[in-house]
C-alpha cells in the first residue's frame, strides 16, 4: 500500500489535483494507524483504557453507593462518570507512543538510526506526517473512548441502579471528546519534550491524587483552567471548588491543545528539517 502511493506522496507535484489530494491524505493516516497498532506499548494503552474504567465501577461499587446515600456527591450523576476520568490513562499512553516510538533506535547495532528516519524517508512532508499521526491517534482514541464510555455508563446503571440518573448522550459524547483531546495533549507534549518519560510523568501525576495542577488551584483559582484539569468540567458537574460551564471548558481545553500542537509542530520542523 505504501509503495503504491509512495510516489504521489514524495513528489508533492500532484497536490494541485483534487482527487490526488484526497488519496494522498488517506494512505499516511492508514500507514500511521497500522504502525501504531503494531506497537506492544500501544496495545497496553488500548487495553488499559478499555478495561480500567469498567473495572473501577465494580471495584468501587460499594464505596460509591455509600457516598451517594450519605450525600457526598452534590450531583449523583457525576458518580457514573467519575471512573471514566481514570480510564483515560490508556489514551495518554497512546498519545505518547505514537511519537516516542519514532525516537527508539531501529536496531541494537545502529543506535543512531531511529525509526523516524525511515518514516521521514517515506513521508518527507513534516506537516503532513504530524497531521496523519494526529488523525490516526484521534480515530483510535475516539473509538476507544466511545466503547469505554458506553460500557462504563451501562455498567454503572446496572450496578448502582436508580441511585444514578440515566446518562445523557451529550455528556457521554463530551467524555469521548475529553479522551481525544487528552490523547492529543499527550502527543503535543511529546512533540515538545521529545521524551515519552517526561510526558507520561507529568500527565500521570496530574491525573492522580498528588496532582500538581489541582494543588495549584489552591494557590490561584486560575489554575483550574490548566489544560489537563479544565476538560473534566465538560462531563463532571463538580470538580474541585471552581465551577466552569461545560462549553467553556471544552473551548478552553481545545484552545490549549491546539496551541500546544502548533508549538510542538513548529519545534518538530525545526529539529527535523
Amino acid at each position: 500500500m505504501v509503495n503504491g502511493h509512495g510516489a504521489a506522496g514524495r513528489g508533492g507535484a500532484v497536490q494541485g489535483r483534487g482527487g490526488a489530494v484526497r488519496g494522498s491524505w488517506g494512505w499516511p493516516v492508514r500507514a500511521e494507524l497500522r504502525k501504531l497498532l503494531s506497537l506492544p506499548t500501544a496495545w497496553v494503552g488500548l487495553v488499559l483504557g478499555l478495561v480500567a474504567a469498567p473495572l473501577l465501577v465494580f471495584v468501587s461499587a460499594g464505596g460509591t453507593r455509600k457516598a451517594i446515600e450519605e450525600g457526598f456527591h452534590a450531583d449523583p450523576s457525576d458518580a457514573a462518570f467519575q471512573p471514566l476520568g481514570i480510564g483515560l490513562l490508556g489514551a495518554l499512553i497512546l498519545g505518547v507512543v505514537v511519537l516516542s516510538s519514532e525516537y527508539t533506535s531501529t536496531g541494537e547495532d545502529a543506535p543512531g538510526a531511529r525509526q523516524l528516519q525511515a518514516t521521514l524517508a517515506a513521508m518527507p512532508r513534516r506537516g503532513r506526517l504530524l497531521v496523519a499521526k494526529g488523525v490516526a491517534l484521534s480515530l483510535l482514541v475516539a473509538a476507544q473512548g466511545a466503547i469505554t464510555s458506553v460500557v462504563t455508563l451501562t455498567l454503572s446503571r446496572m450496578v448502582l441502579g436508580d441511585l444514578v440518573p440515566a446518562a445523557s448522550p451529550g455528556r457521554a459524547a463530551a467524555v469521548v471528546l475529553y479522551w481525544v483531546l487528552l490523547g492529543l495533549l499527550a502527543y503535543a507534549l511529546t512533540l515538545i519534550f521529545r521524551s515519552g518519560v517526561v510526558t507520561l510523568t507529568v500527565l500521570i501525576v496530574n491525573s492522580s491524587v498528588v496532582s500538581v495542577s489541582y494543588l495549584l488551584t489552591k494557590v490561584t483559582p486560575l489554575a483550574a483552567y490548566l489544560p489537563d484539569i479544565v476538560g473534566a468540567h465538560m462531563f463532571l458537574h463538580q470538580v474541585g471548588d471552581v465551577h466552569i460551564a461545560p462549553v467553556t471548558a471544552g473551548v478552553v481545553m481545545t484552545a490549549w491543545v491546539a496551541a500546544l500542537l502548533i508549538l510542538g509542530g513548529w519545534m518538530f520542523r525545526r529539529r527535523e528539517p
Binding site: 533506535s105 543506535p111 515519552g196 492522580s208 494543588l215 489552591k218 494557590v219
Partner: protein, 179 residues
C-alpha cells in the same frame, strides 16, 4: 565486586538524564512545599525518585544495548545485579536524602530508597523506560491510592517486603534472560 560496583557508580554519575532528573526533583520539592500540599512535599519528591530509578536501570536497554557491553565486562549476572543495586543506592541515595531534607521530612529517606529500588527493578524486568515509567507511576499514584480508599479490607504487604519480592524477581529474570 568492588570494581564492578565502582564501574556502575561511574556510569550512573555520568548520565545527563539522571542529573536532570535529580535537579528537577529537588526543584519541584522546593517549589511545591510553600503551596502546602495535604500530605507534605514527600509525594512529589517520590515521583522524581521513581523516575530516577527507572532511568538508572532502563538506560542500559535503550538504543545501543549498553547492557551487552556491561555483561561482556561482568559476565556473572547475579554479581552484576547486586553491583548495580549497591551502585544505585550509593549514587542516587544522596539524591533521595537531599530530597527528603528539602521536603522537611528527613525520616522519609528510607521509604524513598525503597521506591528507588522498586522502580529500578521494574525497569530491569520491562527493559523499556517509557513502559516502566507508565507502570510504576500508575501503580504508585493511581492504583495504590484507589485500593487504599475504595478497598480498605485488602491487606497490602509492607513496603520492604513488596520491594524485596520485586527485586528478587528482577534479579532472577535478569540472570536468566538473553539480551
Amino acid at each position: 565486586m568492588i570494581t564492578a560496583t565502582r564501574a556502575e557508580v561511574i556510569k550512573l554519575a555520568t548520565l545527563p538524564s539522571l542529573k536532570v532528573t535529580a535537579a528537577l526533583t529537588w526543584a519541584v520539592t522546593i517549589l511545591l512545599r510553600p503551596a502546602g500540599p495535604e500530605r507534605g512535599a514527600v509525594p512529589y519528591a517520590q515521583i522524581g525518585v521513581l523516575v530516577l530509578g527507572v532511568l538508572a536501570a532502563g538506560h542500559e536497554y535503550q538504543g545501543g544495548g549498553q547492557i551487552r557491553a556491561a555483561l561482556l565486562a561482568v559476565p556473572r549476572r547475579p554479581l552484576l545485579a547486586v553491583a548495580k543495586a549497591v551502585a544505585l543506592l550509593a549514587a542516587a541515595g544522596p539524591v533521595a536524602l537531599v530530597a527528603a531534607l528539602l521536603a522537611g521530612e528527613p525520616g522519609a529517606t528510607g521509604g524513598l530508597l525503597l521506591d528507588l529500588l522498586l522502580a529500578a527493578s521494574v525497569a530491569t524486568i520491562m527493559r523499556n523506560p517509557v513502559g516502566a515509567t507508565a507502570a510504576v507511576l500508575t501503580a504508585y499514584e493511581i492504583v495504590l491510592p484507589l485500593v487504599r480508599a475504595r478497598l480498605p479490607e485488602v491487606a497490602l504487604p509492607p513496603a520492604p517486603v513488596a520491594v524485596a519480592a520485586v527485586a528478587v524477581i528482577a534479579t532472577v529474570i535478569f540472570s536468566r534472560q538473553t539480551v
